[in-house]
Amino acid sequence: MARVEALVIGGGATGAGVARDLALRGVEVLLLERGDFCNGASGGNHGMLHSGARYAVKDPGSAADCASESRVLRRIAPYCIEDCGGVFVSLPEDDPTYPDRFERACKSTGVVYSPLTVQEARGIEPELSPEIRSAFSVNDASLDPFALVLGNMESARDAGAKVLNYKSIQSFKVGRGSIDEVIFRDAVTGEADKVKPEVVVNAAGAWAGELAAMARVKLEVQVDKGTMVVIDGRHTRGLVNRLRSPTNGDIVVPNHSSTIIGTTSAPMSRPGPACATKEDVQELSQQATRICPSLAKGRAVRAYAGIRALSPAATGRDASRGYQVVEHSRQGVDNLVSILGGKLTTYRLMAEKTADLACLTLGSTRSGRTAQAPLCEDEGEPHLEGSLQMYSRRIWRKYGPGREKVLAACAQRSRGTEVVCSCEQVLLGELEHFAAHPDVRTLSDLTRRTRAGMGYCQSGMCALQALSSLASRTEQDPKRMLEEFLSERWKGLSPVLEGDQLRQEVLKRYLLTGTYHLSIREGGC
């Protein structure tokens, strides 16, 4: 039976970060994710690199971590960060004492900020409401979470880690105070396999409590749902935050070809699939248009929800966004380390602290290098043939360390530089490259990696091309693959369907379900 030094469970940002960190320390690593990577909170957030300002008043510890980690990420993962800056603005109805507290808190937590006049703020962000009262600029940035997580996976693999998705944990064999054996199963084929790890890292996010229970230890996790709405096009130059105690609909983030409004916070009784509702969308739009009235004219193309796993002390907005590394020896399992809470921005720090503890268990004294080692070297703009040059920057932004392989696929394949998803300007070569990748099993997996289908037509024009790229490489029934994918897209569409997005969906249905007699599940979750 296979032995491994460290088994990391969970393929979100934290798990990816831990796997990379350990692999760079020379530890032999296996990472297992039960779905696709970014399945939970790492795929369901608004893609924000926090300057720390949002937490400065309420959660100074997280604010300080964000402030220092955002600097580290700019250094090690510039490819997936759009350093567009951010502003905090207040409206007449907001607590007038908050701006002063905000300023003091930023100062004491090391969050970089500078006060702006209303005029200056509207100079930076012309779409801001004329009603704004106080304003500050901060170092927020837009961060592509998929690119970050997949970049970490790629880098972990380069360092020797074995990383597998679609492997769900069946059971732990616990004997004499430690996990001796872990049995897991392939989510598609059902094939079972097992591994003997020396240490197990539980980075299952919202599901960490359930995973711990399998090892018969208790781990309390607060689960909280957050909803985001995607508006087509970029409506702001940088991030826009509401200058008030964190509430729903405070944040506007420009991201690739869209603008994301976030977020809500609603405690859930236990982790499970999370869906956006019409009410969530309505509230977010209402709040965000108070800050940027032009958003009201934008076209909502999709809404999605993510599940945060928070530290158990408090719930919802009051819970700290800090993280917690839990070592379970006192509960009778010596070789299990769990990581809880935190932010996407602080994933690396969390991963490092977790890896430190895992190494302690392994008896290794090697220290982490992830604060210095870049995820990929920026070799500048490559000089490419023909139209590929135009796309190279976007390809760099999406794939970072994987750029060269993707560019080669586009250049070498016939029609490789043809645009197949016009919303997101995705090339056939990108689809073909990832369709051939062993990690990719479903059309949604292709979407997560390439962005094809994320745009305003919600895959209406690229779904068949994506299907034809992928179906020839799997045994699965193509019709079912397409139905599965469209049903998944529908979840995000149903809460925003009106106006032009409704016209769009009618056209898509006419073209796809009408022509191919597909049946799309119209339930939420």
Partner: protein
Amino acid sequence: MAPFANRCIKCDSCQKACPVVTIEGLRSFSGPRGLAVDSSRFPEDAEALRDNLYKCTACFRCGDVCPARLPLTGQIMALRRSIFAKDKALGGHARILANIDQHRRSIEPAARRPEAKPSDAKLLYFPGCIAENRLPIIYQSTASLLTKGKAAFRVPERWSCCGAPLEKVGDSERLRLVREENLRFFDGFERLVTSCPGCTTHFIQDYGLEPLHTIELLYEVVGVRKLPALPSHRKVKVALHQPCHLARTVGQHVIDYAAEILQRLPGVRLVEMEDADRCCGGGGGVVAGHPDVALALAKAKVESAKRAKADLIVAPCPFCVMNISRAGGVETVDFTNFLDARLK
């Protein structure tokens, strides 16, 4: 992002209607949606799309077939404005700019300009660069028709190119200059008439004036239908080309007028030409920027006329006459020229 770009649902109507797409194919030309919607969502690509942007003939067919009526051509022109740089202008476009600077005409002037006679007529005839310098027959025929219809007119003593070619190149600075000059030169008139649909459209859209195209003036004011026609000793089969700016921006009514006027002429038989409203390639600065595209479109036009067994193509637009003539194969004449020759 263009304010309307998020109204597109990718129905592809515009891509199918675009004449340049039929010539170039979507692999080498991204089409109206690619240019006006997609690239306006990725402004960083606009520069790389320079060649593509300047292949659009500004025929307005895309916006016309768009179910949401999105101003696609307008957006393409806006993108041209945003990437315009004199030092990067295509060869033919650089010549236009140099001509404007030197002569205030978009083309190299002919040796002798027709002399404008001083007059206090309230009707102002704006001949435009082509009718003055390349196809003076249009200038003469228009003058002759107005005289036959007893419409007293004058040509401004001084005038500059209307600016339509500058708009197509994307040069807003020179555009502003010629507009201001013309509005000064035009001082004191009641009605403005133009023989070039490009000028007519530009005066409407950019100057905010209410000009009439020659055909409108002849039909609505002069009463050309009442003017006596010459008898004809032979029959001629005429295909009426529908210039884009006349049919789609000035209005379809002008084409209806033109057809009615032609049909009344002894010996003239109008024949239906397939895609009569498809661009001949003469517009949008494409003749100067991408002559190969312009020529391919002109050839397609001639083929349509041949299939309709036309003896002659009549085109109420100097740009169309010039460009279709480049393809050869079927004789192409201007509407005013054709009409004037057949009226007493």
